[in-house]
């Protein structure tokens, strides 16, 4: 049972407080972890939230992976600790080598902020507890570089090892095989482009993200 979630804050991160709000609303505790600290302060789980770490003037996440905190995140992930990268966080995780593949610019060459339907492809991971394969969720996306790409070898590994977590039912960005989120082999590290923290209230249009965060808090 996750007690405390550490939320990484790089200069340029902007979804850290939304993530904290969502975690707290679901009964979890959360605190900020500053990028230049090399400690993750004994948290039980880590979220790398959305935003533009270090401005993302180079490839997204390419500088963030060198922030001191990422070494601790990497150790934590390799030891089996739950790690969720949302949007820019997903990009950082691929740059850090904790998840395979890369995120390139959307096929339409435009930033896209819109509600999307995604479908669970695998639930054998830290966000899938309590959900079924085939469950459809309404969760917003908000990115310019969300077009997932990887080599054919990686793709076939992702498919055979149930590492594709979500796919879009109506692909907005050109992602290979409609991929919206993936996990590592062990299922403890998940990266996804849609923002579950933005779908935690009916007043805001969807509460479907709550199940994912709930699952993340319960591992």
């Amino acid at each position: 049972m996750t007690q405390r979630v550490g939320v990484i804050r790089f200069p340029g991160t902007n979804c850290e407080f939304d993530t904290i709000d969502a975690v707290r609303a679901l009964g979890g505790e959360a605190e900020i972890l500053w990028h230049s600290d090399s400690s993750i302060k004994n948290v039980d789980a880590i979220v790398i939230p959305g935003g533009f770490a270090h401005g993302d003037y180079l490839r997204c996440g390419a500088i963030a992976r060198f922030s001191p905190v990422m070494e601790a995140v990497s150790d934590f992930a390799l030891a089996g600790g739950p790690v969720l990268g949302i949007c820019n966080g997903f990009q950082v995780l691929t740059e850090a080598g904790l998840l395979p593949g890369a995120l390139q610019k959307n096929a339409g060459m435009k930033f896209l902020c819109s509600m999307q339907q995604i479908e669970f492809v695998s639930t054998q991971n830290v966000v899938g507890k309590g959900s079924q394969v085939g469950d459809c969720l309404q969760i917003p996306i908000n990115h310019f570089e969300g077009n997932y790409v990887c080599s054919p070898e990686i793709l076939s590994r992702l498919e055979t090892q149930e590492q594709i977590v979500f796919r879009y039912t109506d692909n907005p960005n050109g992602s290979i095989k409609d991929i919206a989120g993936i996990c590592n082999e062990a299922g403890n590290v998940v990266g996804m482009m849609p923002h579950p923290e933005r779908a935690t209230s009916d007043l805001l249009g969807s509460n479907d993200g709550a199940a994912l965060i709930q699952s993340f808090l319960s591992v």
Binding site: P11, G12, F17, F52, D56, F111, L203
Partner: protein, 743 residues
Amino acid sequence: MSAAPEDASVHRALGLSDEEYEQIHELLGRHPNHLELAMYSVMWSEHCSYKSSKVHLKRLPTEAPWVLVGPGENAGVIDVGDDIAVAIRIESHNHPSAIEPYQGAATGVGGILRDIFTMGARPIAVMDPLRFGPLDDPRSRWIAEGVISGVSGYGNSVGVPTVGGEIVFDETYKGNPLVNVLAMGVLPSERLVLGQASGVGNLAILLGAATGRDGIGGVSVLASAGFDENSEGADKRPSVQVGDPFEEKRLLEACLELLDEGLVSGIQDLGGAGITCATSETASRGGAGMDVDVSAIHSREEGMEPFELMTSESQERMLAIVEPEHLEKVLEISAQWEITASVIGRVTGNGQLRIMDGFEGEVLAELPASTLHDDAPEYNRPMSPPDDLTERRLRDASQGPANCVEDLLALVCDPSWVYSQYDHQLFLNTVVGPGNDGTLLRLRHPSTGEETGRGLAMSTDGNHRWCYVDPRQGTKMIVAEAVMNIACVGANPLAVVNCLNFGNPEHPEIMWQLSESVDGMSEACIAFNAPVVGGNVSLYNETNAVDIAPTPVVGVLGVHPDLSEPPPGIGLPPDSLLLVLGQEPESDVSMGGSRWAWEVGCCKDGVLPEFDLDHAVRTAAFVAESVQKQRLKAVHDVGEGGLAVALAEMAIRSGIGAKIKNHDNHISMFNESGGRVLVAIENRELDDFVKTAAARGVTAKVIGETGGSSLQFGPMVDVSLESLTVASENQLPEALGQGTVNA
């Protein structure tokens, strides 16, 4: 310090008239030197001094018990209860965007955000009313795409959601687009900070980006003159600044942390006129003076002249006034956010602004700080209505080759291609986002995050067609429309901000438009009890001596008192009754100023439909009340394109059609009689609803019922939802989405 009387070409090149030069001469009791002249020229520019408009702006209502800060500060601030204050401001970045669309729009967003966090507020929303030349003009498409990308690129990255706005295309903006940006922020009411320097010995610390040679004279050379032949402003491109949203994001976080820790006694953003404006404004507001050391300014390149350092408009900079004992802590927080901080000034008690090379070094300029503001010239420029006004008003705007179905298909336009490029959801507040009447955000306490159970609503509105035909009534109608928009999401108005985009103030017709518009706005704001808490005037919007149609834009802020359920939205429900609330159009209603008349009938003249402002006030209150009580199944303001376009938007949204009685000719379908709202209610609610409307003094008329897969007006006019949807969705992507050429 004394300088010889100079060659008149110098002050003229800086944008100062001979009379203004003489006034400076008298104020100083000597001839100004070049640095002093450069400082006066930026501060006395139209953009900074409002010298042509001030005399009119005084007629606007600005006070109410809930107004904490009115016009004149960086942003207006109002008290919205629960110890929360809201800071709001709107600005234009028209001229920079005309010649460098991406950077012009990006720095427009950056500048307005600094105005908000200068007040101690965290910016939580941006809105962008945008106006461009026609879609069939390649250069206008290039400008539109660049501006939209600039808002998206800067706003998304800096981390403030763009929650609404407008997009309008018209011939009048060809060559001179209007890029207005509104920003809103929230702060704990006890933390309000003002941009003033006091306390002799306090330090002025320049925070943020290095000062470079960009944007020198932006306010005088660029913003306060029109565009002339051929150049399309290309020669003025170096006067446009370049934005860096990542620098701004760190600056924003650092400043909010400094304010949270109580380390600054005054803070001011650097926008137009750069360090000159920030140092002189803080000093004169605090009744103090300041010594400024130009050698301490961190600059982007070697060898910058003092006048360049003092007037540069490099972006992402702030000036904080700090007591000396807090200096160390301020430098520490700045370092944590990787922000450069330099002590560039000391507050003095003598009211003088002294520019020096080293605090003990040579005095390069010395002038009374307040003269840069308080003594700026004020003009009551000649004004007169256009010569042909009477003649113009006699024309009948309803003539033309009307084809109700085709015209409707041409007038619907889905703006989602634009706003899907903007993050409009950050901060988890957006209950109703862009593409609707008003925007509605959850209102939460900025420090504790605690929900108040209430909502903040905003809308920006302008209509150059109405204001061209009749600037006074047109402006009244846009205020009413903005209020009606927030009523549609359940809010009552509290405050207005305005951005007055007009042509060349040296043309008497333009000053007449401005004056009429201010009077119309004043009357409407009084009627809605929503004072003007801030604004911006953008003049010289002209190309080749042709002025734009007058385009005052208003932003209205209001509160929804009980946000337990989202408002009904615009989508038509099945099997319901459709009613129009508000003033009924006269039987021979004029088409003057309507989009139909301008775009289909090709007539820009005539008169506006009669407008009953009091009825609009009652209607807005009744609509807000009905939304709050959850009595409506759908609600939508009737604006440009009239009833037919409003209905089409409602039908497209939900995929449910409607049958309308009568209204089967272009006049009843497309007239833009003001103050009307379309609502859908359940059949069984009708009697009670109409009774309540009558009790509130609001006309309510059933016009049809919902259902089916087409929109029918009378027996003859029938448009399928499919064709409406295709026409609406394709307009912008077809014109803009295929990539544009740099014309």
